[in-house]
Subunit: 296 residues, 2 copies
């Protein structure tokens, strides 16, 4: 596995790869790798000749009171895991390599980016959109892989890629879960054992919602109340949002019938804020290619 | 000369060009071509194997009360002029081709973009930065050429190209002037013959400023007063700004000695707003490569 800290040597390496007619898959991460990231890498390796993974804790997507400083960092562990997943090259740049003149140029998708996560974290998606645009320009991959767990992030990146005419194909990969349903997240390490147990309520809400929609439920208000009641039944859970929205626009839906609805959850357990989501699919409706309902 | 209205056929054409090992020069324009644009095209042709010119009147860089609707458009005339200047390919897309989902994704350089022109036209550079990012991603040229007349635009584009890690090299080309000194602009056609005559005061101000700096003037306040007095002496001129600023940051300078100062002018003649600028160079100071003082 090759490792690069700087843009120019990485570009030289990738130019050679391209001249050999090989395809490049890209997996952006902030490190603290877990099975979800490795799942992205294996999917990329299945599709492409060469897999490049970036490891960069991007400061501009953290708010002033968020966990940028505390975010888990262990490069040697990440390198070992990436190598084991057959990643071909790691790009772990310094701040100055990605933000050469500071944070002067920004990329933003303000309408999509101000909803849900954006309402709680107003500069988050601007930071995500900016760093992903930079990384896609540096690496110019054929495909780039993003987890469906960060659904809104995926939507923002699909939108900016299309709008800015970037050439990469954006592919989404199902959320990877623990046996008890908890979605994998680098932030799960913050949970106490009691919070860890309480956090399974997220996945139970998603499962309940899918069962109700499969059984023919059509009223988003009733389902929303059921979900809020389930969350209220868990004393350690503090709800940021639990909403049923259109999966393309993130606007609230008026019916669960006839189309797919996104159930998006953001819930705090102690100091740790977790998100999860599922696409709720009525009987007889097909999921769009490149999306799954709740994740494996 | 090839002409393209759509991204995909243009990209197919450019892929072939690249596979032949040829270099690509890009000249973005809003049409209404004049000798300044053709100068850019000839410079590009001197440097590169193939020259692509875009002709696209970009709505997002016009303010709500500006001249988007009235902006001069004559594609057939532009095609004839471009062909005569040995442009190899024209890209004249529809709005939907450049803004496929509306104006959802924006690129902005807010600190540089809010000064001077940005103070008078608050969304202007966001529109410029967004469309130029799209065009550079579509065409992926080796070099892209911009006129030094739109100095702040040039600075914004240099900044975003570096920050977003775009691969194009940004080259600036001197302002082209009429024999009496008036900088060429597509908006000059709006001027009445009296306004046209009055507008030569801009170039006279630039020339005066350079003479004073060459002669050893060091106080920006004194020079600024002299320039405002020259502009006040022209009854048809209404000054938006006339400032002496650092050519990299656009912040006001405290001395004209020891380094290069940008004199930037924005003046209305009737309903027509013209801009012009010069880099003022003290004796013994060298201009940076890729910049000229006042333009040919």
């Amino acid at each position: 596995m090759r490792t690069f800290q700087q843009v120019n040597p990485l570009r030289t390496y990738l130019r050679t790869i391209r001249q050999e007619g090989k395809t490049i898959g890209f997996v952006p991460t902030m490190g603290a790798l877990h099975e979800g990231h490795l799942h992205l890498a294996r999917r990329a390796k299945g599709d492409c000749d060469i897999v490049v993974m970036s490891i960069f804790v991007n400061p501009t997507q953290f708010g002033p009171n968020e966990d940028f400083e505390a975010y888990p960092r262990d490069l040697n562990r990440d390198l070992a895991l990436a190598s084991h997943a057959n990643v071909d090259a790691i790009f772990s740049p310094d701040l100055e390599e990605i933000y050469p003149t500071g944070n002067e140029t920004i990329v933003d998708v303000p309408n999509l980016g101000c909803l849900l996560e954006g309402a709680a974290r107003p500069t988050h998606f601007r930071g995500v959109a900016t760093v992903v645009t930079k990384l896609l320009n540096i690496i110019q991959p054929d495909n780039a892989y993003f987890g469906q767990k960060d659904y809104q992030q995926l939507l923002v990146i699909e939108r900016l890629t299309r709008d800015l005419h970037l050439t990469a194909k954006i592919l989404s990969v199902p959320t990877v879960r623990e046996p008890d349903g908890l979605a994998l997240s680098s932030r799960n390490v913050y949970l106490t054992s009691e919070e860890r147990k309480a956090a399974t309520v997220l996945s139970r809400c998603l499962q309940h919602a899918q069962e109700r929609v499969t059984a023919g439920a059509t009223d988003p208000q009733i389902l929303s109340q059921e979900i809020l009641a389930m969350l209220a039944g868990e004393p350690l859970a503090n709800v940021d949002y639990a909403v049923l929205v259109n999966p393309d626009t993130l606007e609230p839906v008026t019916s669960l019938a006839g189309g797919i609805t996104l159930l998006a959850l953001a819930v705090r357990f102690g100091k740790t804020r977790l998100i999860d989501n599922a696409l709720l699919v009525p009987e007889g409706v097909a999921l769009p290619k490149n999306r799954v309902g709740r994740g494996a």
